[in-house]
């Protein structure tokens, strides 16, 4: 070897593979304003669609008169339910097994519901025209409070299914009931509660909120009538699924539907489902024969396109007096709005709510979820979380604090006492999950040490004493949360969307000179897939990440996949990437052995090529092997070097973490200050620490928003209160706390590279952490639970109610 030979470290560094803080490929275009988002698209002759929306929460439509709108120059058409009916498109199926009105049929069921679709030459004319469509309503009594939904005299909302006693998930108990979903051992759980020394019970409400990515939902539909092909560009987190839906609804064969998701300006669950806007744009394009664009505005986005949460969780824990948890019982009242449009895997009407036993070894549990209709927008999407996991973690992490308070025990100690032990993994939970791996005690201890937990508690005791002596009006809260997520849906044996198993895919093709293109079934909305998937391939195949291009979102070229949500990209598509790369590597090994004239068992992998065992100088680099694959493959071997993998995960992955929040609250104003926020995440193998940290910052900021004020509120008439950025709390840089991040690494044993996924952990763990901080601050005044969101006004009200 001469001095010019790169060292192993240099060769590894050159790959920019897994574990390095590779700078993002995407940023080159985004920082120059050269991203390509849906609304940037401009096609010749393109028209613009806009909705007439319901002003009432519940009303009968007596008449729709579009004549004045149609008379406005530039208006091309106005669609109503009457136009869609003959096409059988006035209702569309939802992912949850219900149907949703595309355009209101005889009745409106929530304020902001789509009533008519106006198509005009530009967005200004369309906006004028929607004002000219006259809709005559007869107001009906609105149902806003989910707790009244199943009252005997509750108004009938869904006339279209009033005779259906059986829903998609079993019997319906009432005309506003959607499903009851139960799991666990009811008798055993009741027995545990009967025997318990100590029990707690609290109704924990997780309010309705919204993912509100900075870019709203939008699409462009373009029907080529001569070819019989439909192209649909849109903000789709799951473009392949949208293609299947579009094909089924429009009756166009799937291979003639081209769905393309270009750059997406954030999704957070908002862009998983299919919305009336997509259907109407497609119909309009089919009818008019020209491209039609639909772009919702912010108010439409917040008030009509997919809310999140609205789970009201009566949570109970049973324990011995020394703090061993012996049982858990949860009943959830789930407000689904006017249609059940939850984006959950088909067999999971309440998502993975049954992860609610959390990180604790709880021997027996029971969970029941009742879903009900109300006069509110449909949705129930997983806002930066895996299906209902945020709700589940909130329930257990608040409950554990309440139990600690009742036991007079420190909540960190109570957690430590009940954690699943590292040796217990794989761990089968009482509600049916098999946790893959974890080391909770180590993570918790590291977090407590990092923040100086004991000193913080001592400071808090002093402050409380000072408060009681009347020397200060400031109180201090220490919020803990320890979460276990369940992500990476999921094994096709129990997870599907519309009957399609939730596998995901990667197709890798290496060109003769070593350039790689990999196409994926997922779709980034800011997670940096173009950067990180390439890192996986770089490490697996010894090809520099810069020579690897990742392509997503074009359903014509990419292999079928279920898309990006529920932190499933890394656990599922990331695994597919590694598996596809390994198929290529196996072939490369044969080629290398042939080139080196040895048996393939006699060569071994060496960073970026194969070498003969025991003869390190005898080696072939991947570059040489790739070239050979195209011009001198071994006899009987096909030329070329590519592979595809459709990866069906054997299990979910279970990322976890320990978060601590220190908050100071002024009881006279309700103003709080987040003094410190520490987040330790264990997402298994870390592909790109820079991106992980960025995901954690972003998720924590969203968690902060949700816990501390972000809400979609309705008044008694069902009017949406404050569906604009004026009222909807999105923190600016000024309010946003500073985030400290940390990690432990417990790889997933069943994932090819051991990665678990991280995008949603900070949101899932962050919300209870903030809420626990607020609640902890007030606990010494006798409060057990204060409902979210904790905005200044509500904190102030809570302080007053407690006589602070």
């Amino acid at each position: 070897m001469n001095d010019m030979t790169p060292t192993r470290e240099e060769r590894e560094a050159k790959l920019q593979g897994m574990g390095c803080k590779r700078k993002r490929v995407e940023d080159v275009r985004f920082t120059q304003g050269r991203g390509q988002y849906v609304d940037d698209l401009k096609l010749p002759g393109m028209l613009f669609g806009d909705f007439v929306r319901s002003t009432y929460a519940h009303a009968r439509i007596k008449k729709i008169d579009a004549s004045a709108a149609l008379a406005l120059p530039g208006v091309k058409a106005v669609l109503t339910a009457a136009d869609l009916k003959p096409l059988n498109l006035h209702y569309m199926p939802t992912l949850a097994g219900d149907v949703q009105a595309v355009l209101a049929d005889e009745k409106v069921l929530f304020q902001g519901q789509e009533v008519a679709f106006v198509i005009a030459e530009d967005r200004y004319i369309a906006a004028d025209a929607i004002e000219l469509v006259e809709v005559e309503y007869e107001e009906l009594a609105p149902l806003v409070d989910p707790f009244q939904a199943m009252a005997e005299d509750a108004p009938l909302l869904r006339e279209d299914i009033k005779d259906k006693t059986e829903g998609a998930h079993g019997p319906r108990k009432h005309h506003n009931h959607i499903f009851e979903w139960t799991i666990g051992d009811r008798t055993g759980t009741d027995a545990a509660f009967d025997k318990a020394d100590v029990t707690i019970k609290e109704m924990l409400s997780y309010h309705r909120t919204h993912p509100s990515p900075l870019e709203t939902c939008q699409c462009v539909a373009s029907m080529d009538k001569i070819r019989g092909e439909l192209t649909l560009w849109g903000t789709f987190q799951a473009p392949h699924v949208i293609r299947t839906v579009a094909s089924m609804l429009a009756g166009i064969p799937e291979h003639k539907v081209h769905v393309i998701a270009p750059d997406i300006g954030g999704g957070f669950g908002n862009k998983v489902g299919a919305y009336p806007g997509y259907i109407c744009a497609v119909v309009a394009s089919i009818v008019l024969g020209v491209p039609v664009k639909w772009v919702e505005d912010r108010m439409e986005n917040l008030s009509a396109t997919s809310f999140a949460r609205d789970y009201h969780m009566t949570t109970e824990l049973a324990a011995t007096k020394d703090g061993t948890i012996t049982g858990m019982r949860v009943h959830v009242l789930a407000d689904h709005g006017a249609f059940d449009a939850c984006a959950d895997p088909s067999k999971w009407p309440a998502g993975f709510m049954n992860i609610c036993t959390g990180s604790y070894d709880i021997p027996v549990a029971h969970l029941a979820v009742d879903g009900v209709y109300t006069n509110k927008a449909p949705g129930g999407v997983a806002y930066r979380c895996s299906f209902r996991v945020t709700e589940a973690v909130y329930a257990i992490e608040r409950a554990i604090e309440i139990l600690a308070q009742k036991l007079g025990m420190d909540s960190a100690e109570l957690r430590m006492k009940n954690f699943i032990e590292a040796e217990q993994f794989p761990y089968n939970s009482a509600l049916g999950w098999e946790y893959d791996s974890g080391d909770y005690h180590t993570a918790m201890r590291k977090a407590l040490d990092a923040v100086g937990y004991d000193a913080l508690r001592a400071e808090q005791r002093e402050k409380r004493a000072a408060f009681e002596r009347g020397e200060t009006r400031e109180i201090m809260g220490i919020g803990l949360s320890f979460f276990t997520e369940i992500v990476g849906a999921g094994p096709t044996r129990n997870c599907d969307i519309l009957g399609i198993g939730m596998f995901d895919s990667a197709e890798i093709r290496i060109h003769p000179t070593g350039g790689v293109i990999a196409r994926m079934g997922t779709k980034s909305q800011g997670q940096g897939h173009e950067t990180t998937y390439a890192q996986i391939i770089a490490t697996e195949l010894g090809i520099p990440a810069d020579d690897i291009m990742i392509e997503e979102g074009n359903t014509d070229t990419a292999p079928y996949g279920l898309g990006t949500y529920g932190s499933r990209s890394t656990p599922v598509a990331g695994a597919a990437t590694a598996v596809a790369a390994r198929k290529i590597k196996a072939k490369a090994q044969m080629i290398a052995a042939h080139m080196l004239e040895v048996h393939h068992d006699d060569v071994e992998w060496d960073i970026d090529g194969f070498r003969v065992k025991g003869l390190p100088e005898s080696r072939k680099s991947m570059k040489e092997i790739v070239w050979a694959a195209y011009n001198q493959p071994p006899p009987n071997m096909e030329p070329g070097l590519e592979a595809v993998s459709y990866y069906d995960p054997p299990n979910m992955t279970y990322p976890f973490g320990a978060y601590v929040c220190v908050m100071d609250i002024d009881v006279d104003t309700g103003v709080y200050k987040v003094r410190r926020f520490y987040a330790l995440d264990d997402c298994g193998t870390r592909i790109n620490p820079m991106i992980i940290e960025g995901q954690v910052h972003g998720g924590l900021t969203e968690a902060f928003a949700v816990a501390m004020g972000q809400e979609i509120r309705y008044d008694e008439q069902g009017n949406v209160m404050g569906a604009s950025f004026m009222d909807f709390f999105l923190p600016t840089a000024v309010e946003t706390p500073v985030w400290e991040t940390d990690h432990t690494v417990t790889p997933s044993p069943h994932h090819p590279i051991g990665a678990k996924g991280v995008g949603e952990s900070p949101h899932v763990g962050g919300v209870p952490c903030f809420s626990n901080a607020v609640n902890d601050a007030f606990a010494f005044l006798g409060s057990t639970h204060i409902q979210m969101p904790h905005d200044h006004w509500r904190i102030w009200k809570a302080a007053r109610a407690l006589g602070a």
Partner: protein, 166 residues
């Protein structure tokens, strides 16, 4: 609708257009001039995704009419890099410090930061946070945006990068 004649300079290039009086500047830039870098996040003046620089001030271009920009000198994200394509320190720093994710707020954020650093070449962290408080980001939690701006400020001043104290 009768149209209004406007003349303005965008990214150093003179434009002359006929616009409807009600056309918002953001729509004029995006649809008439094809400058799609500035984005629309709200159309109500809250998010800052549409931020451009007008006559030395950061302006949310959804809050004014194109007609009001008659005679103005406008800089959009497309004009931030040097004419030869060399990226501005802010563009480099946003990538270096991972100050963006989905990229939707990024053009507005960089254009705002570009003005901020002219108003205050060495801002503290608190000054940066206040200075970009008209621009919302849903993805990053701002921490790395703040760092990116500090990094760019250091680069422009020819000094080593140090994370500023509050």
């Amino acid at each position: 609708m009768s149209k209004v004649h406007i003349e303005l300079t965008v990214n150093g290039k003179a434009h002359e257009s006929l616009v409807e009086p009600r056309t918002l500047l953001i729509h004029y830039l995006r649809e008439d001039l094809g400058l799609t870098g500035a984005h629309i996040g709200c159309e109500t003046g809250h998010c800052g995704a549409c931020t451009v620089d007008i006559d030395g001030m950061s302006v949310k271009s959804c809050t004014m009419f194109a007609a009001q920009a008659d005679g103005a000198e406008i800089l959009t994200i497309e004009g931030v890099a040097a004419p030869d394509g060399t990226l501005h320190a802010l563009q480099e720093s946003f990538r270096e410090m991972h100050g963006l994710q989905c990229g939707y707020c990024t053009p507005g954020m960089i254009v705002r930061a570009h003005r901020l650093l002219q108003e205050n070449p060495r801002p503290t962290e608190a000054e940066i946070r206040a200075g970009i408080s008209g621009n919302l980001c849903r993805c990053t939690g701002y921490q790395n945006i703040v760092k990116a701006i500090q990094h760019a400020a250091a680069t422009l001043a020819g000094e080593p990068f140090q994370e500023a104290a509050e």
